[in-house]
């Protein structure tokens, strides 16, 4: 993987890896956002249930 030749190939390989890493970070952040959103709904739901009882 690290045996990339210098020049154009190495630049393309560098860009490809950076895109892959950026995509992984974006997906992780989106997942975290969804998790916080659903957990908020779960907690609000639990509070409503306990208040109603």
């Amino acid at each position: 993987m690290n045996q990339v030749e210098n020049g154009e190939d190495s630049t393309q390989e560098f860009e490809r890896r950076r895109r892959a890493r950026s995509l992984a970070i974006a997906l992780s952040l989106a997942g975290l956002m969804v998790l916080f959103f659903i957990m908020t709904l779960v907690r609000i739901g639990a509070n409503i249930t306990s208040t109603a009882q």
């Binding site: 993987m1 690290n2 890896r17 916080f36 957990m39």
Partner: protein, 312 residues
């Protein structure tokens, strides 16, 4: 001591693949950590929302991965000279030490924060303690200084079931401490068996593991002593009512096998047979820990399922 100044960490501008960063998180260690945390979560009394349980395990997994990445950042010099670790991402030049440091730090901070906000702050505090213990006390302080490194440092690997327990109860209890003690007592014979097999590797890196400092015979004796302690500790959940009859049978019989495997290591002293016995003990110790924790979880889950169908 190895001449570590001759070791070069190549590629100052390396930027690895996504999978190289995943490898930085020590996925095999992470899987055992996740499993023991899951068992702690299952055994704890009380209810937890499945999504909260998932979040707790996610944070434990990411926190364990962060510890692994920070360990690889600090130990990059010795990893490069050891055969077992030379293929890790930093020695191979796929990721720079600075990238590993940043990656590990962000994941450590993130996992502690998310655990606190979405699960509870007791679990978060224990997760923080685990990461700090592994990185600062084990990796930076003990590992290169004392042959007792894995005895004291073993506590870091023993915390996860307590974190799982705390995720449900928000507290530390005698039962969760018993789970901690099982892993704590299991760690020395597990790692010293590996140290016997990899003695030359540790010599090369200058790590003061017990076989390198006190000799192989002393290590064999210590392995046997700790295997007995670990097997007895494995029965503590029975005394606390955490494990039932099935657990007592599994833990008792596997404990005897653990001691017998350690006894074989103690008796077989010629090079090839000795290494083979040590390697067998290393592999068996993983099965032992997995099996007794799996049995604890199985008993509890079976009771929950039986209870939900009105069988008990």
């Amino acid at each position: 001591m190895a001449n570590l100044t001759s070791v070069k960490i190549i590629s100052p501008h390396a930027s690895g693949e996504v999978m190289d960063y995943f490898a930085l998180m020590k996925p095999r260690v992470m899987s055992l950590v996740l499993f023991t945390a899951f068992v702690g979560l299952v055994l704890a009394p009380g209810d937890i929302h499945p999504l909260t349980a998932f979040t707790a395990l996610l944070c434990v997994g990411v926190g364990a991965g962060a510890s692994g990445a920070l360990n690889m950042w600090y130990d990059a010099d010795i990893d490069a000279v050891m055969q077992r670790t030379a293929r890790r991402p930093i020695p191979r030049g796929l990721i720079t030490p600075h990238e590993a440091l940043a990656f590990g730090s962000v994941l450590a901070g993130g996992s502690i924060l998310v655990m606190g906000v979405l699960v509870n702050w007791m679990a978060s505090g224990l997760l923080m303690l685990t990461i700090i213990y592994y990185v600062f006390i084990y990796t930076m302080w003990l590992k290169r200084r004392t042959p007792q490194n894995i005895v004291i440092g073993g506590a870091a690997g023993a915390f996860p079931p307590m974190i799982g327990w705390a995720a449900v109860t928000g507290a530390v209890s005698l039962e969760s401490v018993a789970l901690f003690l099982i892993i704590f007592a299991w760690t020395p014979p597990h790692f010293w068996a590996l140290a016997l097999v990899r003695k030359d590797d540790y010599d090369l890196a200058g790590i003061p593991m017990l076989p390198n400092v006190a000799g192989e015979d002393e290590t064999r004796k210590q392995i046997l002593i700790y295997a007995i302690i670990a097997s007895v500790t494995g029965l503590v959940p029975v005394a606390l009512g955490l494990g039932g009859i099935l657990y007592a049978l599994v833990s008792g019989s596997l404990g005897v096998m653990f001691i017998l495997a350690a006894l074989r290591v103690y008796q077989r002293r010629d090079v090839d047979a000795g290494r083979k016995a040590a390697h067998s003990l290393f592999k068996f110790s993983i099965i032992y820990l997995f099996a007794i924790f799996a049995t604890l979880a199985f008993e509890r889950l079976a009771a929950i399922i039986a209870g939900s169908f009105g069988m008990i």
